[in-house]
Amino acid sequence: MPVQYPTSSPYSVRTRTIRTRSGLARRTPPRGRISLLALPLLGLALLLAGCADKSRLRFEKIAGSAQRDDYAMAASDVRKHKDLYGSASQLLYHMDLGVLLHYAGKYDSSIVELSKAVSVHDDLFAKSVSNEALSLVANDNVRPYRGKPHEIVLLHQFLAFNYLALGKYDDALVESRQAQLYLDELKRKAGKDVKAFADDGMFRYLTALIYQATGQRDDAAISMYHAVKAYRAGPIPLPPVVAQDALAVLKANDRQNDIQELKLNEAAASGSAVPAGGTVDPAGSEIIVIGEAGRSPALDQNVFWGTYARDGMLVIHYRDANGKEVTQVLPAPGLPQSELNKATRGRKTRSGTTFHIKFAMPALKDAPSKTRFFTVAGEAAPVPVKTASLTAVEPLLAGYLQENQSAMLIRTVIRVVTRTIAAQETKSAVSGDNPIINLLLNIGTDVLADQFEQADTRAWFLLPRTVQIARLPVKPGVHSLTVQAHDGNGNPLGIPVSFDNIAVKPGEKKFVFTASLK
């Protein structure tokens, strides 16, 4: 006969003894008492309710102005929607604001914001144990965003661009050195993994140009050497303009061994047509036009959901590239035979029980844009010069996803398993006599657990699709030029941008920046 207990404070410890069909008595947790695991789950629901895909919201609210090349408006949008970043994405906030201010030509303000981003990144060196633990229950969006390796290199690169635009070459080199320290640390962590991102060709090449601008010939040659090696080891093919320039610089510095080792004569000869600007005298006066073209991809999530039957089956649903829902039935680890045998003996068994599962993984999402290159014309370029691409963000982002796929999958599996167990505990704890309430509570628990599952789709999507360059040898003096953006078919986009009164001293390398994200 079951024992009755007085109903007093819910905080007191109570147990209930029941008799099963076989006559054995068991203790069960009291009905209606929330289990310890369910409480954090409910608490997290309140905390994380606002985390629903803020990346997508940022993309929708900010990308529009940026795509119209209205960078000042886009920067204003970022400041207005600061709440969409939250405390976990401060790095991204300052990077987005900083790069928009750079595109708008406000180099001083861009330096302030991007320097704050560097400071945030430095502060994030120490990982919070409690935060990491929380992310294993909730999702990776609660972790502070530390930036992807190529983003951090580009962060320093854009800071260098700002300093170059202001004629501060030494400060630009400081950024190059900081990026170099970061890459050295990446290389150390990568160890023997040759596929890991640990160097960047564009960064090395532009560092070489800055060394040329400051008359440091040896450092320029070393950087050019490393630029060629970095391009060859990475996902971006060696641009012909870099091959040509590297050959010229290494020849001027009498580094024949490097030329032979890099097989530069063949590379320079076999590349596609060199831009009409031609190879520049490393020590001569020139105007270097850097163009930021198109929009880099963002990240979206691939969601997989379904049911895991403990007897050994997994039914998974997902959407294919066309948005059509696909269902797959896969074999999965099942229960041991001993568990299956229990049912034949009339004992309670876990056979026939199911778990609802859902997990999400980040995936590339293309951002449509038309700008592919620029042409430079005007007094400084009597024959129009087409820019050449130095880097593309899409292969770098794709490389990052591939490199980190295993780690992301392991974290996702741990998180899904932890949450699934917590959800099952919750369902058991809250189950009562009323089947309708039980059904609603069970469905509610599953929906709640589902809400947590969001892939970390944060990315610096305001980066340009490609970074372009044109080098214009000029005589010392005051010059002017115009820059026109083009689509992939060569059609002009928008109105040309004019740059007047560009004063170039003897031997000076003057940097000019333009952007078209449309």
Binding site: A126, S128, V129, D170, V174, R177, D184, E185, R188
Partner: protein, 199 residues
């Protein structure tokens, strides 16, 4: 006191204590050493200035001027930052200038940027100021020596540990002959440790 009241009072007390910890200011002396991040700071700037002033005033180059009872005139040229940090070299250069001027042994003239501004002022006076108050053009003091230099760093880093070596070099160059009369240097080395985890 019931357990509930006791817990409530403890929580309230903790809340008040934590609220009082949000911002705390302690005034310290200008020459106190406080290292927060391991990066170049005011202490490093002060150490460089002190070392350079001491070395410059005791250098053999000064003897020639002392013997001829003339005070050398110096202009500050470019002090390059070749390090991996954004460091304002003006802080220790200004300290050095002040110390040398106050010693009475060296005179400084305005640097290139400052001269440009002063010349603009003279041109403005030539057009607008009363004749008797105008400062004449062509009366500037030419410098005999130029102070130039650079700041370099070497960083050895492994995870959260780094050894950072700063070397500041300053030179006095005779403008007439391009001879280097004095080279001073100050080395600073730091071991910086950062924890990889926190609660």
């Amino acid at each position: 006191m019931t357990r509930f009241k006791s817990r409530f009072l403890t929580s309230a007390l903790a809340a008040f204590m934590l609220a009082g910890c949000s911002t705390k200011v302690t005034r310290v002396t200008h020459d106190s050493t406080i290292d927060l991040t391991g990066k170049w700071n005011d202490t490093d700037s002060r150490l460089v200035a002190e070392e350079m002033v001491k070395d410059a005033l005791s250098g053999a180059w000064y003897a020639k001027y002392a013997a001829s009872k003339t005070t050398p005139t110096v202009v500050v040229g470019v002090v390059r930052n070749k390090s991996h940090e954004h460091i304002s070299t003006e802080t220790f250069i200004n300290d050095i200038q002040r110390a040398l001027i106050n010693s009475g042994k060296v005179e400084f003239v305005a640097n290139k940027a400052e001269r440009g501004e002063i010349r603009d002022e003279k041109a403005d006076q030539a057009s607008n100021a009363a004749v008797e108050t105008r400062q004449s053009a062509g009366e500037e003091s030419g410098a005999q020596l130029m102070m130039i230099g650079e700041l370099n760093t070497i960083v050895d880093q492994d995870g959260g540990k780094a050894v950072v070596f700063y070397q500041t070099n300053l030179e006095l160059v005779e403008i007439q002959t391009h001879k280097k009369l004095w080279i001073g240097d100050k080395k600073i080395k730091k071991f910086v440790e950062r924890s990889g985890t926190k609660f």
